[in-house]
Symmetry: C2
Subunit: 334 residues, 2 copies
Amino acid sequence: MHKFTLASFALALALPAAAQEEEPVTPGSVVASASAEEWVEIAADDLLVMELAPAADGSERRVVIQLMPPPFSQPWVENIRTLAQAHWWDGTSVYRVQDNYVTQWGDATEEKVLPEGVRSPLAGYESTNGAATEVQMEAMNPIELGHLLEQGTENPEYRRNRAIQEHLRADPYAEQTAFFMGWPIAQGGSIYESPIWPIHCYGYIGVARDYAPDTGTGAELYTIIGQPQRHMDRNLAVVGRVIEGMEHLSSLPRGHGELGFYAEDEEHLRTPIVSVRMASELENAPRFEYLDTASESFASYVAVRANRDDPFYTVPAGGVDVCSVQVPVRPVAE
Amino acid sequence: MHKFTLASFALALALPAAAQEEEPVTPGSVVASASAEEWVEIAADDLLVMELAPAADGSERRVVIQLMPPPFSQPWVENIRTLAQAHWWDGTSVYRVQDNYVTQWGDATEEKVLPEGVRSPLAGYESTNGAATEVQMEAMNPIELGHLLEQGTENPEYRRNRAIQEHLRADPYAEQTAFFMGWPIAQGGSIYESPIWPIHCYGYIGVARDYAPDTGTGAELYTIIGQPQRHMDRNLAVVGRVIEGMEHLSSLPRGHGELGFYAEDEEHLRTPIVSVRMASELENAPRFEYLDTASESFASYVAVRANRDDPFYTVPAGGVDVCSVQVPVRPVAE
């Protein structure tokens, strides 16, 4: 934690010449030096732009969301596209903010009719004790990380993948964790046979539901605003992540009703949602790209995250939590 | 993530009679049924009360901090007591809020003279490459978890401790994690010989510093407002945690200067600190207690956190991250 404020920050940057000659390697410097080919543009169909009502000082509040790619949570993701195309969220609100947990949005009145075709992907399953799990697993269409292995251990991508897993080291919630097509994932056991699932890191978005696991459509969404909530993995559908404007959801006033919902006398604190649009529907839509998680630069980035070696850190951690390896995302340079 | 808003919340609570008869076991229900003897009152000398300027709506903003007990970070904790007794923080401010990272406070002018006796505990060590580490380790006066073992494996406290460690399962940053005297800790290796250290979970407080590791006194403090920042463990001194009013630090507007400091044109966003007092200096000081981490109820609480088994969760996690086991703290009933 840097102590310096702006004045001393300038001072601190005036390092001795020797230190300046050899630029310290930081997660940021690794990302900055990644080659153009290592970045992957996010398809406009996978981007949502949510416009909140302006802040008290009149400034805009735009939140950009990247939707989860196959094979994960696709029935819910499809619902979300339908809801956005129907402009269903326009006029709804952010109605729940629970500290160190979630910010949640959608229709607080619970009376807004859903667009045709939007229903719970688990409709028909009423049990809460196992059946839902099987269905969720099936919906995930589990794939195997092992496909890389088939290319042989000399494959550079395979070797990078193994190196990354060594830095991830151990995980309290899964047999192993990894990165797959730009997303952190967890896995239950052998890489040949076990299901994989998406996880609840900071800024990741899931589908709210009632007690029964078949009650979530994607109309009511939440994002994690504190520590990761990994116990929700496999119990709720992770459908995307915030890639711009997270502060507009994380810094909202907390709710003091049950579970962080705004209480009756706090309803004025709800943040109006002006609109939610697919980027593919917008003129001049923002464009974003993520650092290919199979790239050499991403492997270096994980290594540096696991063992900081720059003037500020003297004890390298020796490992890194999968959620602390935030996948780099940035606007596409025009 | 519960979908229900207040209306449906009432509905959702109207479970079938069978479910109501057998109350589901949740982390909250375990804590609620802990016996009075399992709670430990926090000494008034270990409590700081920070009063921020009132919020825009005129409401009070009080933050209560519990200081770290021996053997951890005591030279800095002692400085913090001295600073509070000198009323040094009165009139300072919260001047840095970086999303998913830290909120930091102290003297933004960097000109306020420190009280007599407050200097960096590492003064005299100028190296950033190893020497500081050794000194920090020494300052921690490493103790051994093994003291429990000496009482024999039949000791109930020993058995509970082992059970907790099994639920904590694995950690990316340390050989093992555990709870010690009400605090989560990490350990580097064998429980007989290895150093232990305090960790950076949500709401935990550390000592800001410049590049050199001997530049932190405790006058400038930060708290974690997003995912745990475990890579800072052993590189910065963890000196306490927020036990009340965390939302007053986590929901502040983010800064857009370098590293989340408020930029020049954002300085009006700084939150004034009205006062910081030791509870022992206050009349009618608030009193708090924590659930003894060596108690039977705490062991049950960890077990339930690791494997939720209530109507909302259908897939138990099978483990839990040490930072996701927040040590229960509550006001002492008057």
